[in-house]
């Protein structure tokens, strides 16, 4: 799942799909945490998974806010066209 998400991030140009692939990667990490938490009988895995979900929510909010403000001025969603900082 992680690999699929990473491929998604690298392959697509649509910024929203990139953000969603990042969410996919975060979820993959969550699944790993929960699986190991069950394997070793340790609660720390699930606790950390909750924190990961929290952080993902925060990051999604901020990322989308950036996208919205970007889109408002330029109306682009293609990450290749956001190249004002390129030399």
């Amino acid at each position: 799942m992680f690999v699929i998400g990473a491929a998604g991030v690298l392959m697509r140009r649509n910024a929203i799909i990139i953000l969603m692939s990042i969410e996919l990667m975060l979820n993959a990490v969550n699944v790993t945490f929960v699986a190991f938490s069950r394997q070793w009988g340790d609660m720390a895995g699930q606790v950390f998974a909750i924190f990961v979900i929290t952080v993902a929510a925060a990051e999604a909010a901020v990322g989308l806010a950036i996208l919205i403000s970007l889109n408002r001025d330029k109306s682009v969603l293609n990450v290749d066209e956001v190249n004002l900082l390129k030399w």
């Binding site: 697509r12 649509n14 969603m20 979820n27 069950r38």
Partner: protein, 170 residues
């Protein structure tokens, strides 16, 4: 009894995620992601983490994805335009992805026992239950990260509002 369900869920997850990263229609991709989250929640229930499963549905599928959907709708995504959604380097990406997958598989398949690990012990189906165990460890041992996470959320909330605010030039 649990094993066929697990296979069912995992196949569903993999199919849904592959479909998701390849859709041209952004709304379809978002819906497939929601489906992935549902199946993930099922996997969590199988692993004995019921609280996490419900939190996943509540927050991820019910909260974050609604946020994504709203943003997609507010951003005028032309869903029917199929122009060059993929990079030119797609072929190399696929090769690298396969290499990464093989690497991750090799690392995880070692599965050696983790020697003398001191953690908070809890087993599937224990009597106090998942929620109580989670609560008792979340508020004692991991209290500091908990508070830090709440401040992080506050910062993210304020940041998002400031970033997306329409500046009124008069």
């Amino acid at each position: 009894m649990e094993l066929p369900f697990f296979y069912l869920f995992s196949t569903g997850i993999i199919v849904a995620s592959i479909l998701m990263v390849t859709r041209a229609n952004v709304i379809h991709a978002a819906l497939l992601l929601v489906l992935t989250f549902f199946l993930l929640s099922g996997v969590y229930v199988l692993a004995g983490a019921e609280f996490l499963a419900v939190v996943q549905i509540l927050l991820y599928a019910g909260g974050i994805m609604v946020l994504y959907l709203f943003s997609i709708m507010l951003m005028n995504v032309d869903v029917s335009v199929r122009l060059r959604q993929y990079h030119r380097q797609t072929f190399f990406v696929v090769i690298i992805a396969v290499a990464l997958a093989v690497e991750v598989w090799l690392v995880l398949a070692r599965g050696e026992a983790y020697p003398d690990y001191k953690g908070f012990a809890w087993f599937v189906g224990a009597t106090p239950g998942n929620v109580e165990a989670l609560g008792s460890v979340l508020y004692t041992k991991y209290l500091f990260p908990f508070e830090v996470a709440s401040i992080l959320l506050l910062a993210a909330m304020i940041g998002a509002i400031v970033l997306a605010k329409r500046t009124i030039d008069r």
